[in-house]
């Protein structure tokens, strides 16, 4: 009776872990499940873990399937979920504010481990390495609804789209601003400044009958005469 119950608890734990690991390459998933299962068996035999509460405590020490799966994804270089959540939050903020600081591209950095300085030596006898490709991102998963990696992945790619859209809009806005500024500068020069030197000498010459403008007389009247000139 009790043994049945504890077996159920273990089976349930392993089943849920397997569901959550569905985003891992199959061999890595099998490897991890085999290890966890062996761990549980080892503990039960070698530490005489028999009662239901002992088994539950054993599972508790292992960590929830969610925690173990998150560690597995992180170590596999597939979607550090915490990082993706942060990137997603950044993208959402960016969508709300007009000119955001561009958040880091959600897809790029795998955890530092995976990109580490060591060569990913692939001894061929080690079967579970064969299907392993650390930088591919999560394989498409048709699996159960609560497998962690597909969801954040999708979120982050929509986040990326939003960021790109906002960035394009910002660039267009800045360009338009530059154009408008340039236009105002040129038109402002035509209206305000250009006529003054052109009109003023004419009028000076007309009024003075072509007399050579002497320095002290020609210059002071200039502004007075130049200003009404365009309005006439």
């Amino acid at each position: 009776m009790s043994s049945n119950k504890t077996d159920n608890a273990v089976a349930e734990y392993l089943h849920e872990l397997e569901l959550r690991l569905s985003g891992l390459p199959v061999l890595q998933r099998r490897e991890l499940l085999a290890e966890i299962e062996a761990h549980i068996s080892n503990e039960r035999v070698e530490r005489a873990v028999a009662s239901e509460s002992d088994v539950l405590e054993l599972l508790e020490r292992l960590g929830s399937p969610e925690i173990v799966a998150a560690a597995a994804y992180e170590e596999a270089g597939i979607g550090d979920t915490r990082r993706q959540v942060l990137a997603y939050a950044g993208a959402t903020r960016a969508a709300v504010r007009p000119l955001p600081p561009i958040p880091p591209p959600p897809d790029s950095p795998p955890p530092a481990y995976a990109a580490g300085p060591f060569p990913p030596a692939a001894p061929f006898g080690q079967s579970s390495y064969a299907g392993y490709s650390p930088f591919d991102g999560p394989p498409p998963v048709v699996g159960p609804p609560f497998a962690p990696p597909p969801a954040p992945k999708q979120e982050s790619s929509t986040g990326l789209r939003v960021v790109v859209g906002v960035a394009i809009a910002a660039v267009v806005f800045v360009l338009l601003g530059c154009l408008a500024g340039a236009f105002m500068l040129t038109s402002g020069a035509e209206v305000g400044e250009a006529p003054a030197p052109v009109v003023a000498p004419d009028q000076v010459q007309i009024e003075r009958g072509g007399a050579p403008a002497r320095g002290e007389e020609a210059v002071p009247p200039l502004p007075e005469q130049a200003v009404p000139a365009p309005t006439e």
Partner: protein
């Protein structure tokens, strides 16, 4: 802006794996043995199940080797052994760690007497 609760996680990241390498430096050990050893260390205490993905990665990068072997009492055990590249990675970490620790001690004022 690391959350205070994240501190030990952050400290563990990047160092725990070398503790694992050191643990199998002189003799091969099987998974449960390694996990139990970590369970005894308060400061390193993490969910035991997260050690296995770590072992898996160390094996994939070639720092650890593993082989299954029959157990007298229970299910087969998977024994882990340090490879040559794992050994040099561990040596490299040791020298890096000493100077890293000294720098942090100096800057943070934890050098002590």
């Amino acid at each position: 802006m690391a959350d205070v609760a994240q501190l030990s996680t952050s400290l563990r990241r990047g160092t725990l794996e070398f503790c694992v390498l050191a643990m199998v430096e002189h003799e091969d050990r099987y998974g449960t043995e390694i996990v139990r050893r970590f369970g005894e260390e308060r400061n390193l205490a993490a969910s035991e199940g997260t050690i296995y993905p770590l072992l898996s990665r160390l094996r994939r990068v070639g720092w650890l080797d593993s082989k299954w072997s029959e157990s007298p009492s229970g299910p087969p055990r998977r024994y882990y052994a340090l490879t040559d590249t794992g050994r040099s990675a561990l040596e490299h970490f040791r020298s890096e760690w000493v100077s890293f620790r000294q720098t942090v001690d100096r800057l943070v004022g934890t050098g002590g007497a």
